[in-house]
């Protein structure tokens, strides 16, 4: 009985870990959708690039003989954020900005093209095979009986804390800062915001940069957690994060956080109690079901179709 409970607790912890990284990626989808109403299909690739860049930095610093882990991780984090947000900015500038105001499907197709391009950019630059880094942060707490031990690794704890910090910082930024206020205004009504003297292009660029930075954080965290990466991880992670964003209500930032956590829990519980092979199918079915019964998501607003 106790073992079953501990097993359950373990699944919850694992689910929360994955879920918080989904939430970080989902923010990028939800903010972009909230402001320009398009699905940034290439966002998953930005996350993948974040993982690759942090691996490059980690490997580079280890080669240089730096062994103090916090420094390595901080450096990897900083550089991954810089590179990923540059990608976010460049993607918006080249693939989406020229298409603003066109039919909804046109930017989406362009985004799919961008996603394929970025995936193969990394395949050509770094090879299609898995890259792996040795575990940087090991250990953790274990608790339980002799038969079964649940554990909370330090890595998981770091993921929780990092996610919490990012989310709090983002919430503060959106609610308090000048740019955050501009973001909300543009999300409300882009034309009106423009009339009132807000540089909407700059706000849109900022949205992409913020989304990409959070994806880079998720990239580093998941990279450290799993220890392996390949150029194709972005697609499925992006799809999952998009599911999370829709689940919580696309356009809503707290919704994305909630959606990420729910999706992570669903996945780890499916993997534990049903079968790990079906976990992707279950999360996509969840996406389909939500869109069918509550297209606005858990915390989303009803969107009125205007002529």
């Amino acid at each position: 009985m106790l073992e079953a409970f501990l097993y359950f607790i373990q699944q919850i912890l694992n689910g929360l870990t994955i879920g918080s990284t989904y939430a970080l990626i989902a923010i990028g989808y939800t903010m972009v959708y909230g402001i320009i109403g398009m699905i940034n299909f290439a966002h998953g690739e930005v996350y993948m690039i974040g993982t690759y860049v942090s691996f490059v930095v980690i490997a580079g610093l280890t080669m240089l003989g730096i062994e103090y882990v916090p420094i390595i991780i901080l450096a990897a984090l900083t550089i991954a954020i810089i590179v990923s947000s540059s990608f976010g900015w460049a993607i918006e500038r080249t693939a989406y900005r020229p298409l603003r105001g066109a039919n909804r499907l046109i930017p989406l197709i362009s985004a799919i093209g961008m996603s394929i391009f970025l995936q193969n950019f990394v395949v050509n630059a770094q090879g299609a095979r898995d890259v792996a880094i040795p575990p940087m942060i090991s250990g953790g707490w274990t608790f339980g009986t002799e038969n079964f031990q649940a554990s909370l690794s330090y890595m998981q704890l770091i993921i929780f804390i990092a996610t919490f910090i990012c989310m709090s910082a983002l919430t503060l930024f959106i609610s308090k800062s000048r740019m955050g206020r501009a973001c909300r205004a543009v999300a409300e009504d882009i034309k009106m915001a423009n009339l009132l003297g807000i540089n909407t292009n700059r706000v849109i660029s900022a949205t992409f940069v913020i989304g990409a930075s959070l994806a880079a954080v998720a990239g580093l965290l998941l990279g450290l957690y799993y220890g392996v990466a390949n150029p194709h991880i972005g697609f499925i992670a992006g799809l999952k994060a998009f599911t999370a964003a829709v689940l919580g209500g696309i356009g809503s930032i707290p919704g994305a956080m909630l959606g990420g956590i729910i999706l992570g829990l669903t996945e780890s519980l499916t993997a534990a109690y049903i079968s790990s092979e079906w976990k992707d199918a279950v999360s996509f079915s969840l996406l389909v079901l939500i869109l069918l019964f509550k297209p606005t998501g858990l915390l989303g607003k009803q969107e009125v179709e205007k002529v």
Partner: protein, 422 residues
């Protein structure tokens, strides 16, 4: 000039940041540790060149745009557009007839490899035309089209494996099965808005693939299904020996010696017939009320609803008919390959079919056919660029959307527009 300069510096820095860490530094996995090494001097040179180009382009942006304005946009006006409608139809008929004639004679003159490639092109033409109904005509972005292709292929494979059903009987069944799946999926999801629909269909495509991958006892999982029977012609087989009791051999009946090329030519002609039927059916459909309704719905959904059109029925018909063609294509694909596995039905396949539709010009049949030829033949010709194939492919999709979102050969029809629209 000054603002241009700071912008140019900024974009040049961004270009460097974007290209350097991934292109310039390569991860090398050795044993337990991982290290990086710098890429060769050529790569560094490329990065430098890219940075310089972006810098100078942004610096002299105004001059460049002025320059580009003088270059006329490519137009495909060959005098054909200005013809009278009646004459146009005549020209079109002759043109179609000539193409079919050439396509019929062609396999007897070229090598076996080319016929094989041409058969592949025809499969993509069929898929492109099917998706064209959904995306091009009805304006519903379907990113999981490959699921219906898979349903068609697996329908034939499983029917042939478990019930020993022949290709000709399985062909309509595969189409009906795919249409049924299209109907079942379409029924609930079609009230979603465009981009949500895209993602749901993408999710559906993945679900089907995961199902095929994991239902090992039924579909063989990742190992796929092999040894699928090839189609026969009135009970004549194209192999060297009779596989199934009661069948005869093509070369024996015809009284000619055995040649494996006959089978390839037969498959090609079969695909050609399927494509011609597809083209014909869709051309008729577009001129029927339901086809008109598709296009009306694509142009303005709200107006359609105000005019009392039932959008669910219209969308559902587009979805179902589009899926049925994917089912036919899938059935033929399974018969041609003789082996299928979930590997053949990944998202990238959906993206390729979508790219064919987009490149050809949404809604235009001729465009889709040309694009299918281009998308299949060009990668074969550029074998040495194989590794850059998908890279170019993604880039092309983006550039196409930016430069010519209506495609290479957009379908044109007479229309009136309010002058003070803008």
């Amino acid at each position: 000039m000054k603002s241009n300069f700071s912008h140019a510096v900024f974009t040049a820095i961004i270009t460097f940041i974007v290209s350097f860490p991934l292109l310039g530094l390569n991860l090398v996995t050795g044993g337990t540790s991982m290290s990086i090494e710098g890429a060769g001097p050529t790569t560094w040179m490329y990065i430098g060149a890219a940075v310089a180009i972006v810098f100078f382009f942004q610096l002299f942006r105004d001059q460049f745009t002025g320059l580009f304005r003088h270059i006329p946009k490519p137009s495909f006006n060959t005098g054909y557009q200005s013809l009278e409608p009646a004459k146009k139809a005549k020209v079109e008929n002759w043109f179609t007839f000539a193409i079919i004639l050439i396509a019929l004679v062609w396999p007897f003159m070229v090598s076996r490899g080319s016929i094989d490639l041409a058969t592949l092109v025809l499969i993509y033409v069929m898929l492109g035309l099917g998706l064209n109904i959904v995306v091009g005509l009805a304006g519903l972005l379907d990113l999981g089209y490959v699921a219906f292709y898979a349903v068609g292929a697996y329908s034939y494979a499983l029917l042939s494996l478990y019930y020993d059903i022949s290709f000709w009987l399985a062909l309509p069944i595969a189409g009906i099965m795919a249409a049924l799946f299209g109907f079942l999926l379409g029924f609930p999801v079609l009230r979603l808005r465009g981009d949500y629909l895209a993602i749901v269909t993408l999710g559906f495509g993945e679900i089907i693939r995961i199902f095929l991958l994991n239902a090992t006892s039924l579909t063989g999982g990742p190992n796929g299904i092999g040894g699928i029977d090839k189609p026969t012609l009135f009970g004549m087989e194209f192999g060297r020996r009779v596989k199934e009791e009661g069948n005869t051999l093509f070369h024996e009946v015809m009284g000619i010696s055995y040649d494996s090329t006959y089978k390839v030519i037969f498959l090609y002609l079969l695909a050609l017939i399927l494509v011609v039927i597809t083209v014909f059916v869709i051309r008729r459909l577009v001129r029927m009320p339901v086809g008109r309704a598709w296009e009306a719905l694509r142009e303005d959904e709200i107006a359609c609803r105000s005019l009392g059109m039932n959008r669910t029925v219209i969308k559902l018909s587009a979805f179902t008919i589009g899926a049925a063609f994917a089912g036919f294509a899938g059935c033929f694909f399974a018969a041609r390959q003789g082996f299928i596995s979930p590997e053949s039905f990944t998202f990238i396949e959906s993206a390729i079919i979508l790219a064919i539709v987009v490149l050809g010009g949404m809604g235009s049949q001729m465009g889709v056919i040309l694009a299918a030829i281009a998308m299949t033949v060009l990668p074969e010709l550029a074998r040495e660029f194989q590794e850059y194939r998908m890279l170019m492919f993604g880039l092309m999709m983006v550039l196409m959307m930016v430069w010519r979102p209506q495609g290479l050969l957009p379908s044109k029809r007479p229309h009136l527009e309010l002058a003070d629209d803008k």
